[in-house]
Every structure is written in C-alpha cells, then in structure tokens.
C-alpha cells in the first residue's frame, strides 16, 4: 500500500471515529464508562494523526516522546479526573485556600 493510500485510509478512519464518537455525547448515559470510552476514542484519533499525518515515527526521539506524552497523557487524565473527582477537588481546594 502506498503512502497516499495510507493517508486516505487514516482520514476515513478519523472521520468514522469522529462521527461514531459524537454519538457517545448524544445518549443519556453518564459516568465513568462514558469517560473511558471517550478517552479511548480520543487516544486512537490522536495516535492516528501523530502516526500518519505528523509522521512521528520518523521524528527525533525527544519530539516523539513529548508528543506521545500528550497523546497518552490526556486520555489518562480524562479517566483519572473522572474517577477521582472528589479527591482532586479536596486537594486543589486545600491548595487554593
């Protein structure tokens, strides 16, 4: 498969994930399970963009690691701050006071 074809398929996958992922927000369900699903879709989309559009696999290791820190870090933060919302509020409330 040539590089252009891979880019086209990556774009199709991103569009499908975006439309499918948007349906997560149209339901009445709430809570941790939705946060995990949203985080997973976010991570997959970020990794597709970084791999195929940004060509991060060819980039200098420092650039690669720093961008991957964001790609993995944000979805993990979404899950952690949903699961540990009250401890985060207590911790930051004390720090703010």
């Amino acid at each position: 498969m040539n590089a252009e074809r891979k880019l086209d398929l990556a774009w199709v996958a991103l569009v499908l994930l975006s439309i499918g992922g948007a349906r997560l927000g149209s339901g009445d369900d709430d809570g941790f399970a939705i946060a995990v699903l949203v985080a997973l879709v976010m991570a997959v989309k970020l990794l597709i963009v970084s791999r195929y559009f940004l060509e991060l696999h060819e980039a200098h290791p420092r650039i690669r690691k720093a961008v991957y820190l964001f790609c993995y870090g944000m979805p993990i933060l979404v899950i952690l701050t949903t699961g540990f919302r009250e401890p985060l509020a207590r911790l930051t409330g004390a720090a703010l006071i």
Partner: protein, 208 residues
C-alpha cells in the same frame, strides 16, 4: 619500480559504517524553531487543560450538564473540517516530495477551504450560543469553554496565515522535492493544532 600495496587487513573499509536506523535517531520534521513554537503551544494548552480539570472537579453539576447546552453538530463540524484540512496538508507534503508542485497547490487550496470552515462554523455557533444566553456570565462551564476554544481559534488563525504563506511560496516555486522544510514545518504546526482540537472537543461536547 615497485609500488607498495598495503596488506588487505590494513586497508580502510571502503564502505562507511551503516547509518543508524531512523527509528533510533529520527529527524526533526520541518525545523527546530517550529518545534520550539509547538512545544510552547502545548505548554500553554497543558495549563489550560489543568484549569479545566480542576474547575470540573469543583463544579461537577455544571460540567455534567454542560454538553447539552452546546451544539454537538457544530462541535462535530469543527472536528471534520480540521481533520479534512489536515489530511489535505499531509497529501500536499507527499505531492511535493513526489515533485508534483501543481498537485501540492491543489491540496493546499483544499486545506485552506476546509480550514476556513472552522471559523465559518464558529460564527454560526456563536450566534446560536448568544441566542440561547450562553455568554460570559453563563457559568463556569461556558466560561471554561470560551477561554479554551477561543485560544484554540487564535492558533487556527495563525495556522491559516501560515497556510497562505506556504501557498504563496509553493506558487512561486520556492519548494522542491529535496528542500521543502517550510512546508513541512507548517504541516507540523497544523497537525498539532488539529490534535489539540481532538482533545478539546470531547472535553466540552461529550464529557462535560
């Protein structure tokens, strides 16, 4: 007359040592300067995301009800416009690498059209929001939404200006298949701005 020929074991190897694998060393896509700018952008958004998560922890009810106040259609529209624009930019870079300058220009025009879709949707969404009373006094969720999305909009504007610049340079024949670092640097910025939206969109339109 005799010519001294060194013994085979003392002859320096004709073939240089193999270059390290690209995955081990990699390269700097675009330019170092652009990556300094990109990491400044990522740091700025990291701080804004931290504020978002703290505000969400302190006001769970406001953030839980937040997504239903926004237009999911507009949010999905932004995502599709930016992803499609990013795809066009990636295709433009590949066209330039293949020496197809006219193809590159056409892909850049496509990228600009879809990129302009982002502020166009923003105009309609803002009209809708203000008609629903979603202004700066509409609570912590809406305030967080405005500061993050407007900051992102500013970065999209920089990207659109950059896109016009690389289009002009492409039209003037400044890039070649061997030397198109400026085009690559712009592409990196645009893809990272795209990635930032992929983080912002679910926070406000899906998760709350």
């Amino acid at each position: 007359m005799s010519i001294a020929v060194p013994a085979p074991s003392t002859i320096a190897p004709a073939v240089p040592p193999a270059a390290p694998a690209p995955a081990a060393t990699g390269r700097i896509p675009g330019s170092k300067a652009m990556w300094v700018g990109i990491f400044c952008e990522l740091t700025e958004f990291a701080l804004l995301f931290a504020v978002f998560f703290v505000a969400r922890a302190h006001h769970p009810e406001a953030f839980s009800a937040g997504p239903s106040r926004l237009s999911l259609l507009a949010g999905t529209g932004y995502t599709l416009m930016l992803l499609t624009s990013g795809w066009c930019v990636a295709r433009a870079v590949h066209a330039m690498r293949s020496g197809k300058r006219s193809h590159c220009m056409r892909w850049l025009v496509g990228a600009l059209v879809f990129g302009l879709g982002y502020p166009a949707i923003k105009v309609f969404e803002l009209q809708r929001n203000f008609a629903h009373g979603l202004d700066g006094s509409a609570g912590v969720f809406i305030v967080s939404y405005y500061y993050l999305t407007f900051t992102h909009l500013v970065h999209v504007f920089w990207g659109l200006l950059g896109m016009l610049w690389v289009m002009a340079r492409t039209g003037l024949g400044a890039y070649t298949p061997e030397d198109h670092g400026g085009l690559e640097a712009f592409a990196c910025y645009w893809h990272v701005t795209d990635m930032l939206w992929l983080m912002i969109f679910p926070l406000f339109y899906l998760l709350g």
